[in-house]
Symmetry: C2
Subunit: 118 residues, 2 copies
């Protein structure tokens, strides 16, 4: 196992205006490239994700740190964390154990509003 850190985590943590600030995280399956869910992190959740290798978010409903899969077993092993050109959103590439969605579906984005086919 090798760990490469291309950017300083400390620098990235400055993207959060305060301890309470939340930024969105796109969560993508590393193998299938399916978009699994969208969640939010504060500084602590991002730090914990890096330190533990398990995707950790801030639960806006429970108002607490949320280690994804801690109760269900459907954990997300972090493969890579990227941030965007504006440094105000993140992308977690993960190995998803089980399913991502609490409904039992593989991805949370199973509702289609609108679709165009050739």
């Amino acid at each position: 196992m090798t760990v490469r850190v291309n950017a300083s985590l400390d620098q990235i943590l400055e993207s959060f205006e305060s301890e309470d600030s939340l930024l969105p995280v796109v969560v993508q399956d590393h193998q299938s490239k399916e978009v699994l869910m969208l969640a939010y992190v504060n500084r602590s959740a991002l730090e914990r994700s890096v330190e533990t290798g398990k995707a950790t978010y801030w639960s806006r409903s429970r108002n607490e740190l949320w280690v994804k899969g801690e109760s269900s077993g459907n954990i997300q092993e972090i493969v890579e964390i990227a941030y965007d050109c504006d440094a105000d959103s993140f992308l977690y590439r993960v190995n998803q154990k089980g399913v991502a969605c609490h409904t039992g579906k593989p991805s949370c984005f199973f509702n289609i509003i609108h679709s165009r086919g050739a």
Copy 2:
């Protein structure tokens, strides 16, 4: 060209608390499945995206509707719009013309904080 609408757009528009409410959109390349960017929509931007077939967002910096690629030519043709299990985020699957990022990179998520390899 066929257009299928699985859920009522009117129902989804109720997800926005007010005219000013913004919700995040994950933008994914339909072919490569690469996550291209994260942007925000209000009701009008979502409606315009569905009506025109061109990805339209709310620019938080310019405080106006933003038809992606209108000036650069790097438009995003909507293939499918999905929403998540909580109906508080969206996924646009698009055909990206040119590149998604204003830096000239294909995706906005080109900065790696943290990477683990076997």
